[in-house]
């Protein structure tokens, strides 16, 4: 069985994409934050795995929202801490 399901194809999963360094830099500048102050997402999150993001990457998530139409969010990929 080599059929793997790509979670990004599901209609309920919002669009994820890895941001390049310049984008990250300008993002951090707009909000005047350090990279550590971004919301986090674990490296083994199914969507993160699907776009092959590595810890340290910043990913951009675009959701469709009932009230706002389109909502952008950014997350820093981190390693899942051990229990």
């Amino acid at each position: 069985m080599s059929i793997t399901f790509n979670v990004l194809d599901h209609e309920m999963v919002p669009e994820h994409s890895i941001m390049n360094e310049e984008e990250v830099k300008s993002l951090l500048e707009t909000y005047r934050i350090t990279i550590e102050q971004l919301p986090k997402i674990f490296h083994d999150d199914p969507a993160v795995r699907a776009i092959k993001a590595k810890p340290g990457n910043v990913i951009k998530i675009i959701r469709s929202s009932h009230t706002a139409g389109r909502a952008e969010s950014y997350r820093l990929v981190i390693k899942r801490p051990k229990k």
Binding site: I33, Q37, T67
Partner: protein
């Protein structure tokens, strides 16, 4: 000011016996506290080196007086080691993972390394756990056969092994355990996640016990002059006594049995000293039988040090009393009893501008005789911050001394801004700012229209009142917390303050259908409103002018209001007859004139008052607050015009209806019997995915439900709008037609978890029925009404069904309360920054735009960003 510093790390460790001795200022050996003269015994539990609590004495350690001495620790040398109850789990874990002979980890060096490598791949854990060690094995270091460690609450450890097929058990003394823990090498501890520099495991077994300073266990002197010691002191006395006896016995070479008993007793006392609520250990009690409050109990729980003392604050300038309703005051007001107003004060800073005014407050003094008298003052504060209490004796002198720079604490008077609160404070509308209005009596008075946000009623509820003390606090209260600013709930974007109960019934009675009032009646209705002129009369008959009920209501509507909606009484007909609606449920307001329709809960009620919602958006909060005041007053006047009451005979039906109901229930029972017969013959066609029995049950439930509804219809035919309960149900004021059905018609099927009542005896619910009876009345169908009264079996079923509801509410409230607490603890420090992001205090971003859309839910229209319907209606003015 020093800049705030970031905390790098926090280290948690154990006290070593060495450290305990080092910080101790005195070795405590005597169990006594004070001698006959009331002087502390040297080396006793109240030793002067441990700090002083009696005024006049000086601490022997720091030479300070009682108020300044922080207290100092002492120590007790225990005769034998005892286990610290707080660390039994750690001890158990360590004993299980280390060798019983060499105390090394029961893993070879390779195996430890393997676990560490696995960690880098993200599959392992950063420390070893009990699970990593295989059971029943031989030590890889010294080859010793390992035994199972048994732990018995609270503090007993033993080894268990099999010998010749027999189970052998050997108890480990705390000394044995301590010896084992001592031998565990530092590297092995690091692998287990323990830093041996701050927490050697053997320190969990106490050899020396710190004695807390007397300042944290002060003795109190009772009225009869007797000293009463703190619970901790009592417990320490016990420990020292046993410790002393233990030592003596040990020195005298007492038999092993006695030593063991004493050891266990010492362990018990130390355990309860640390925690008096340990499982498997009877709590130590006071002479009166009350369990002692020892160390752990001081910290734990709601009234503990953390939740009770550190996060729980108490305030001044607050009052609490019973609340009662007053529909004649504004929703933004609160009635304050004179007794409260005389006690509560507002600070007034004296300037050259208000010197005379302030002087008058002082001259009026602290006793205000009536509600209408001018307010006085209770205290003045001099520029050097000295407080002077005002009394009849010093009024004159203080008034003369008064000059700019002083502060006069003036009593509360009409129009002061205060915060009003009812617990539980579940949302922000639980605390709102009101304007005071002094009143006679002893209760806080509030307009019933503000009951919904507080969730208040008047069955004995109490509420709190706080008086803001600074100009900033007053401004903040006025701008953010005022009642009119909180009419819209951020929960659903609609009004939460509005008409309830009688307001809704009253306004329904006033506006339903078409009625004509003579001038006297119109005047009676609007006498308390600020209305300067009446519109032209709607009709003139024989020279007598008449105004319609809709005209009267329109008097209080904002002039430019235009809207169209359906009232609560709307039946959602397929084809709306609009103005021709026979229920008068099509509400149309044009240019502030009610053209058609009945005003009820949908229009002015709390939670879904459409008129309120629209006026807030088009005319602002203040106008809406005025409208609510006008509306509640008008509603109360109109309900009083005709009177409104409900009695037992309002549930009466005529003979025909009773006959029809009886027939109806009869046929339903027959239907059920027939279905049971079909089932018993095995001819029942089961529904997909259900057994025959389930199908039968569902059918019966359906039949009985329909039967109850039919009785409601029959009763409803008889009861019209002349019935008060129908008025309340139709207008949405209180109750429903179902309630009325149950009162007049038939109570219906009682259920537990959505099924007919099945529990009880063997194959039957009650001994009144035959075994296996599936009939309606054997499983909780009540054919009587509340009016006609229940039969004994019916009564019993009703109690069963009623209990379920009670349990559900009890469980729900406790669960949601805890959920709320956790939510608040998690979210309390988040704030919306100026750039619209939601951040923690550390600047970490939680949301990039508040709520993804950056909108204030209180300013949205029931969740939508723009109230399209409202704009369209005000442009079209109700035309289509």
């Amino acid at each position: 000011m020093p800049s705030p510093k970031r905390i790098g790390k926090i280290e948690f460790g154990l006290f070593s016996p060495k450290e305990i001795r080092k910080m101790s200022v005195r070795k405590i050996i005597w169990a006594d506290t004070y001698d006959e003269d009331g002087f502390p015994y040297p080396q006793g539990l109240m030793d002067l080196n441990l700090g002083v609590i009696d005024p006049g004495l000086r601490c022997k350690t720091c030479d300070q007086r009682a108020a300044d001495c922080p207290g100092h620790f002492g120590h007790i040398e225990l005769a034998k080691p005892v286990i610290h109850v707080g660390y039994t789990r750690l001890i158990r874990k360590l004993l299980r993972v280390t060798c019983r002979s060499c105390s090394r980890l029961l893993l070879s060096t390779d195996e430890i390394e393997k676990a560490v490598i696995a960690e880098d791949e993200g599959t392992g854990t950063d420390t070893l756990s009990e699970k990593d060690i295989k059971k029943e094995q031989i030590c890889p270091h010294c080859g010793e056969q390992q035994y199972k460690i048994n732990f018995e609450k609270p503090t007993t450890f033993s080894e268990v092994w099999m010998e010749d097929g027999k189970k052998m058990e050997h108890r480990l003394t705390p000394a044995d355990i301590r010896a084992r823990l001592e031998k565990i090498p530092d590297e092995d501890l690091r692998a287990l996640g323990i830093n041996p520099l701050v927490a050697r495991p053997e320190w969990t077994v106490l050899t020396v016990l710190p004695v807390p300073p007397v300042t944290m266990r002060p003795s109190i002197i009772l009225e009869n002059g007797q000293r009463s010691e703190d619970d901790l002191t009592h417990k320490l006395v016990d420990i020292i006594r046993i410790n002393q006896r233990f030592k003596e016995n040990q020195d005298a070479g007492a038999p092993q049995l006695i030593i063991e008993d004493l050891w266990e007793l010492l362990q018990y006392h130390v355990t309860t000293y640390l925690d008096n609520e340990v499982a498997g250990c009877p709590p130590a009690r006071h002479r009166s039988g009350r369990p002692l409050k020892t160390l752990s109990q001081r910290l734990k729980g709601k009234d503990g040090r953390f939740r009770g003392s550190l996060s729980g604050k108490r305030v001044n300038f607050s009052a609490r009393t019973v609340i009662s309703p007053d529909p004649n005051i504004s929703v933004v007001e609160v009635g304050v009893p004179l007794a409260v107003a005389n006690e509560m004060t507002v600070p007034i800073r004296v300037t050259t501008m208000n010197l005379e005014e302030a002087r008058q407050y002082v001259l009026n003094g602290p006793e205000r005789p009536t509600v209408n008298s001018p307010c006085g003052a209770n205290y003045v504060i001099r520029p050097d911050n000295r407080r002077i209490r005002l009394s009849e004796a010093n009024l004159q002198t203080v008034a003369e001394m008064l000059e700019p720079g002083w502060v006069v604490e003036r009593q509360l008077r009409d129009g002061d801004i205060v915060l009003f609160n009812r617990q539980p404070s579940l949302h922000r509308m639980s605390i709102m700012a009101h304007r005071t209005k002094l009143m006679d009596g002893r209760t806080f008075r509030l307009n019933p229209a503000v009951c919904p946000p507080y969730n208040a009623d008047f069955d004995g509820d109490e509420m709190n009142l706080h008086v803001p003390q600074t100009e900033e606090a007053k401004a903040e209260a006025q701008i953010l917390l005022a009642v009119q600013e909180n009419i819209l709930s951020p929960r659903f974007g609609g009004p939460i303050i509005g008409g309830i109960h009688d307001h809704v019934s009253g306004i329904f009675l006033l506006t339903h259908g078409l009625r004509w009032f003579r001038k006297e009646d119109v005047m009676y209705l609007v006498q308390h409103h600020r209305i300067s002129s009446l519109p032209p009369p709607g009709k003139v008959e024989d020279g007598v002018p008449f105004w319609s009920n809709k005209q009267v209501f329109s008097l209080i509507l904002p002039r430019e209001l235009n809207m169209v909606f359906h009232a609560s009484s709307c039946q959602n007909c397929v084809e709306c007859k609009r103005e021709g609606c026979e229920r008068d449920a099509y509400v149309r307001i044009q240019d502030g004139q009610l053209v058609s329709g009945t005003i009820d809960k949908k229009a002015v009620g709390a939670f879904d008052g459409q008129i309120l919602h629209r006026t807030i958006r088009q005319h602002g909060m203040r106008r809406t607050a005025e409208f609510i005041d006008d509306m509640t007053r008008l509603a109360i006047r109109s309900i009083m015009l005709d009177g409104f009451s409900f009695g037992i005979d309002d549930e009466d039906l005529s003979k025909t209806e009773y006959g029809q109901i009886r027939e109806m229930l009869e046929s339903a029972a027959n239907d059920v019997r027939m279905r049971i017969k079909i089932f018993e013959e095995g001819a029942l066609e089961p529904m997909p995915g259900r057994t025959e029995e389930e199908t039968l049950e569902m059918q019966i439930m359906q039949v009985m439900g329909k039967a109850r509804d039919r009785t409601g219809e029959i009763a409803g035919r008889h009861l019209g709008l002349e019935n008060s309960a129908v008025v309340m149900a139709v207008s949405g004021a209180r109750g429903s037609m179902l309630n009325l059905t149950q009162m007049a018609g038939c109570i219906g099927q009682q259920s537990v978890r959505g099924e007919r009542i099945m529990r009880g005896y063997d194959e039957r619910t009650l001994p009144h029925f035959r075994k296996g009876d599936r009939g309606a009345e054997a499983h909780g169908f009540i054919k009587n009404s509340y009016k006609s009264g229940l039969s004994p079996t019916e009564f019993f079923f009703h109690a069963i069904g009623g209990r379920e509801g009670l349990v559900d509410t009890a469980v729900r409230t406790s669960q949601s309360g805890y959920l709320q607490r956790r939510m608040i603890n998690a979210l309390q420090d988040l704030k919306v920054a100026y750039d619209g992001t939601v951040r923690t205090t550390g600047g970490r971003i939680i949301q990039f735009l508040y709520g993804e859309d950056g909108t204030d839910p209180a300013k949205s229209s029931y969740g939508d960003p723009v109230d399209v319907k409202g704009i369209v209606e005000s442009v079209l003015k109700g035309e289509r």
